[in-house]
Amino acid sequence: MVVIIFITTTSFALETEKKNHDQKDGGEVNTQEEVTAYIKHHLKDSHDFTFFSYTSDEGERKHVGFPLPVIFWSSEGLVTFMSSEFHHNDDGHVIVEKGGLKFAKIHSKIYELDSEAATVSFDETHHATNAHKVLDFSITKSVVGILFAGLLMFLGFSALAKQYKTRKVPKGLGRALEPLVIYVRDEIAKPNIGEKKYKKFMGFLLTVFFFIWILNLLGLTPLGFNVTGQIAVTVALALFTMVIYIFNGSKDFWAHTLWMPGVPYILRPILAVIELAGFILIKPFSLLVRLFANITAGHFVVMSLIALMVTMKEAFGPVASTGMSLALALFIMVIEILVAFLQAFIFTMLSSLFIGMAVEEHEHH
C-alpha cells in the first residue's frame, strides 16, 4: 500500500513546469537527478497538502490534495493568502502580488521580491539575487502534522483520563494506551530522574514521547509527513528539554558544574566552561541532531529504495528492479517502524537522563 502510494507520488512534479520546460514525459521522475531532487523536495516542509499527483490525458499535471494558508511577515506587515495561488510552483516562477508586494516560492521558502524586480533572477548556485526570505508562519504541511498529532494525542489520552472516572481498568483504546503511559513512567522517568522528583517532569516526558512517536509513525504513512525530520521542530524539542533541566538544576548540580569540587583550583574554571558547554550546547545538540538525522535518513533510504525500480530498470529490467525495490523497501519500512519508536524512546530517555543529572542531590559525607 505504502509502496503503491509512493510510486504515485514519485511522479510529483509541478503543474506549471509543463508551460516553462515543455516537458514531454508529463512530470515523470525517471533519472537519478530527478529522483534525488524529488526526495530532497519531500524532505522539506511544504505549503500544500498533496496526497498524490498524476498527469491527465491532456498532458496536464494534476495534484490531488488541498491548499494550506500562507501566513508571513513581509516588509509591509502581515500577509495571508492560500497556497493554491502559487499553483504548486516551487522554483520562483509564479509571482503572487499582494498589497503591491511580489512574492515567490523557491524550494518551500517564501521570498519577497525587491520592489523593482518583476521576476526572480538566480545566480550560478541557484540563489535568488533580487529577493529575500520572509518570516514565514504559514500553516505548512508540518504544522498540519503537528496539529494532527496533537489532536490525536489529546483525543486519545483525554478519553483514557475520562474512563478512570467510571472504571478502574480502561477498555478499548485506553487499554492499549495505559501500558505505554506506565512504560514511560516506570522505565524512562523513574530510573533516570529518581523516585522522589520524577512526578514534576512526567507531563513533559509523556507529551514529548507520544508527540515524537506519533509524528514518526505519521511520517511512515503515505500522507508523507516529515515533521520530526524538520530541523526546526527538533531544535524546538531539544530547547524545551534544555530549558527544563537548566531551570530545575539543583544547588549541587550548579556547584558541580561551575566549581567542581575535588579538582585543582586552576582547572575549575576550565571545567566549568566545558560543563556549561556540555549542558547548554552539546547535550541539546546531540538530542536534536539524533532525531533529525535518524528520521531524515529513514525517509531518504525508504524513498531511494522505492526509486530503485526506476533507476535500476535499465540495468535489471522492470520485473527484477521492481521486485528488488519492493523487497528492500518493505524490509527498511519494518525497520523504520522500529526506529520510529526507538527515536521517541531515546529522545525521552536522554531528556529524562539530563533532567535526572540536573535535579540530583549528592549526599555529602
Binding site: D45, V143, M153, F154, V181, R185, A232, A236, L237
Partner: protein, 166 residues
C-alpha cells in the same frame, strides 16, 4: 551545515514552540494529571488490598489456632467434669449403700428387739391366761374334790412354781 541552517525555518520553529506549549498545558490538565493520579490511586489501592488480604489471612490463622486451643481446653474441661461427676456418683452410690446398710441393720435390730419384747409380753399373757385357765379348770376339778378353797389354791400354786414354761 549550511544547508542545515538554510533548511531551518524560523516560522516552523516558532509554531512548534507555541503549539507544544499549548499541547503540554492541555495534556497536563486533561490527560496526564488524571491518568497518573488514577494509576497511582489504583496501584496504592491494589497494594492496600494485598496487604489487607495478607492481614486477613494471618488473622484467620490466629483465629484458627485460637479455635483449636479453645476446643482442646473445652475437651479437657469436659473430661475433667465427667471424671468428677463419675467420682461424685460413685461416692454417692457408696454412701447410699452404706446408709442403707446401717438403716436396715438398725431396723432389723429394732425389729428383733420389738419381737423379743412382743414375745416376752405374749409369753407373760399366755402365762397369765394359762394360769387363769388352769385355775378355772383346777377350780372346777378341785371344787368337786376339795371343799376348802384355800387348800386347793395352795396346792396349785405349789405345783405351778415347779412348772417351767419355756
Amino acid at each position: 551545515m549550511e544547508t542545515l541552517l538554510n533548511d531551518f525555518s524560523p516560522g516552523l520553529f516558532v509554531m512548534q514552540i507555541v503549539i507544544l506549549i499549548i499541547l503540554l498545558l492541555l495534556m497536563k490538565k486533561f490527560a496526564w494529571k488524571p491518568i497518573l493520579n488514577s494509576l497511582e490511586e489504583r496501584e496504592t489501592g491494589i497494594e492496600d488490598a494485598l496487604a489487607a488480604a495478607e492481614n486477613a489471612r494471618k488473622e484467620m490463622q490466629n483465629l484458627q489456632a485460637d479455635n483449636a486451643k479453645l476446643v482442646k481446653e473445652a475437651r479437657a474441661e469436659r473430661d475433667a467434669m465427667m471424671k468428677e461427676a463419675r467420682e461424685i456418683s460413685d461416692k454417692l452410690i457408696a454412701d447410699a449403700k452404706e446408709d442403707a446398710k446401717e438403716v436396715t441393720s438398725a431396723l432389723i435390730e429394732k425389729a428383733q428387739a420389738s419381737i423379743q419384747q412382743e414375745k416376752q409380753s405374749a409369753l407373760a399373757e399366755i402365762k397369765k391366761n394359762v394360769a387363769e385357765l388352769s385355775i378355772g379348770i383346777a377350780e372346777s376339778v378341785i371344787k368337786k374334790e376339795l371343799s376348802n378353797k384355800k387348800d386347793q389354791l395352795e396346792l396349785v400354786e405349789g405345783l405351778l412354781k415347779d412348772v417351767t414354761l419355756n
